[in-house]
């Protein structure tokens, strides 16, 4: 907008303030109006409510594992052998890309429970394979050990341990 008419100093100030105030209020209003359109893409109330899964453990024998589903993702539940536990515990954690003690990753050493999603780009790793006899992700070659920690390959972090609790000796609630 161009105005060539001379206006006294005071008038200019008042006008500018008015324009800025109106523009500011308009901008704030627009920002608030946009929020619902963004928020609607977040998980809805019913999705959030389905945040836990209960799994029975008594059928899982030592040295085997099952894959449960929690929040649409695979969760590996492994009944580890003595050898696997020992292998996981004796590693010098300072040599690890993502240092974490095995004891911090399990509540009960016999049971290793973790989200079966490779921390690289989201593929599902294969059990009992790879250079460390843990898990191996076939997509881009990440090797995990018997505690699910990243040892070799492009993945940046250990397999994630979900929140869980043992409701009894044979029942675990994930989430």
């Amino acid at each position: 907008m161009t105005t060539t008419t001379p206006i006294e100093e005071d008038g200019v100030k008042r006008r500018d303030f008015l324009y800025i105030a109106a523009g500011g209020v308009g901008a704030v209003g627009t920002a608030f109006a946009i929020w619902p359109f963004v928020a609607q893409m977040n998980p809805s109330a019913d999705v959030l409510a389905l945040s836990s899964t209960e799994v029975e453990l008594d059928a899982i024998e030592e040295g085997s594992e099952i894959t449960a589903v929690w929040q649409g993702k695979p969760v590996f539940i492994r009944h580890r052998t003595k050898a696997e536990i020992a292998a996981a515990e004796e590693v010098d954690i300072s040599t690890l890309p993502d240092p974490e003690a095995d004891a911090d990753r399990v509540e009960n050493p016999e049971w290793l429970i973790m989200v079966g999603v490779c921390t690289h780009l989201g593929c599902v790793p294969l059990k009992e394979s790879g250079d460390f006899n843990g898990w191996f992700c076939p997509c881009h070659g990440s090797h995990y050990d018997t505690s699910g920690r990243i040892r070799k390959g492009p993945a940046p972090a250990n397999l994630v341990v979900p929140p869980y609790e043992f409701l009894s000796a044979t029942t675990v609630k994930i989430g």
Binding site: W35, P36, A39, Q40, M41, S44
Partner: protein
């Protein structure tokens, strides 16, 4: 007048794709008559509502499921579980009504000020095409929640096509994709309900193009004669329209937040049941005048033809209205007729919502008759015999003396 950007980047783009210049011309320098009243705001408001419906619609379709077993539940899922889902859905359903209110006011403004007359016939036609597309879109959108009114509205309206001689039944079966309104129908309605708004956007662009070719009409109905008569669209009309928008949003919000179901029908909160028809089916309010015309004729084909005819005659308006004067301000008799016609349309709206029994049938027939009488007989006749008031010399001449008398009045 031409647009020459100073920024070298913009200049580079402009020489290859003159889109900024086009927008600059359309929204900035577009020479607009200086005397447009607030009645001219409803055009931009209609554009605004189209955008609101598009955005809320796209977002709602992220949560909606077009299946007869799931549609109703998915709408309730939106209302109860999706973040702000209730807001988005009420915006969309009330937004449809708001869109029609704004467009109806826009149309009646055009009728009052003779905006359909040469050289704006195509502009008028494009507007009517938008109106028809809006009706189709709104109708199909109302089917999607799959409530009782959705289902029975769809059944009744699609059955209208059964009135076509010989091929009617074939066409209805084709529309349904079955032998009744069912899942295939719902699916295709969803698809088309998503598609048509984008077609509307296309026609709106043509509508604005045609508008900017012949220029806006104005309350005097006389064309811009020299620079004195016009002002650039920005900032004068952008700010005027923004103020109008703010007021309009208050009205919209009042419905949205305090009476979101007032313009809807309770029966649409009952899931569709193909075996039970509600006692009293009515279309959404914006279809009521046409519904009244449909029911005015006790014959299937006749009713359908008359209903479509009610819109078809509007296309002929630029040639039916013989008067050379555009604005009703200078047409004393037409002005009276305009208001009677408006009341007639309100009566038709009322009748469309009433059960098909006396005295509503009789009133509906009289109102329907008058609708066509006004357009087909009175309008051409008035143009021939009416003695118009003297026109001002120019738009400026019309505005200036009034301004000074306003000032005197406020000084006194």
């Amino acid at each position: 007048m031409s647009f020459e950007p100073k920024n070298p980047m913009l200049k580079w783009v402009e020489t290859r794709l003159p889109i900024t210049g086009m927008l600059h011309h359309a929204l900035y320098e577009y020479p607009t008559p200086k005397n447009l009243s607030y009645w001219w705001t409803f055009g931009s408001l209609a554009g605004f509502m189209l955008v609101v419906q598009l955005i809320t619609g796209i977002v709602l379709s992220m949560h909606y499921t077009a299946h007869v077993d799931l549609a109703f539940d998915s709408v309730e899922h939106i209302m109860r579980d999706v973040n702000y889902g209730w807001l988005l859905r009420y915006m969309h359903s009330n937004g449809a009504s708001m869109f029609f209110i704004v467009v109806y006011l826009h149309i009646f403004r055009g009728l009052y000020y003779g905006s359909y007359k040469a050289p704006r016939e195509l502009l008028w036609w494009l507007g009517l095409v938008i109106f028809l597309l809006m009706m189709a879109t709104a109708f199909m959108g109302y089917v999607l929640p799959w409530g009782q009114m959705s289902f029975w509205g769809a059944t009744v309206i699609t059955n209208l096509f059964g009135a076509i001689p010989v091929v009617g039944d074939t066409i209805v079966t084709w529309l349904w994709g079955g032998f009744s309104v069912d899942n295939p129908t719902l699916n295709r309605f969803f698809s088309l309900h998503y598609l048509l708004p984008f077609v509307i956007v296309g026609v709106v662009i043509l509508h604005i193009w045609a508008l900017h070719t012949s220029g806006s009409n104005n309350p005097t109905g006389i064309e811009i004669k020299d620079k004195q008569d016009s002002i650039p669209f920005h900032p004068y009309y952008t700010v005027k329209d923004l103020f109008g928008l703010a007021l309009f949003l208050i009205v919209f919000s009042a419905f949205l937040f305090y009476a979101p179901n007032w313009m809807g029908h309770p029966d649409n909160y009952i899931p569709a049941n193909p075996l039970v028809t509600p006692a009293h089916i009515v279309p959404e309010w914006y279809f009521l005048p046409f519904y009244a015309i449909l029911r005015a004729v006790p014959d299937k084909l006749g009713g359908v033809m008359l209903m479509f005819g009610a819109i078809a005659v509007l296309f002929a308006l630029p040639w039916l209205d013989k008067s050379r004067i555009r604005s009703a301000r200078f047409r004393p008799i037409y002005k009276q007729l305009f208001w009677i016609f408006l009341i007639d349309c309100v009566v038709l709206t009322y009748i469309g919502g009433q059960p098909a029994e006396e005295p509503f049938i009789l009133v509906g027939r009289i109102a329907t008759g008058y609708y066509f009488l006004h357009i087909l007989v009175l309008l051409p006749l008035v143009g021939m015999f009416e003695k118009p008031k003297p026109l001002p010399a120019s738009i400026s001449a019309d505005v200036l003396p009034k301004k000074s008398s306003d000032k005197e009045a406020s000084n006194a």
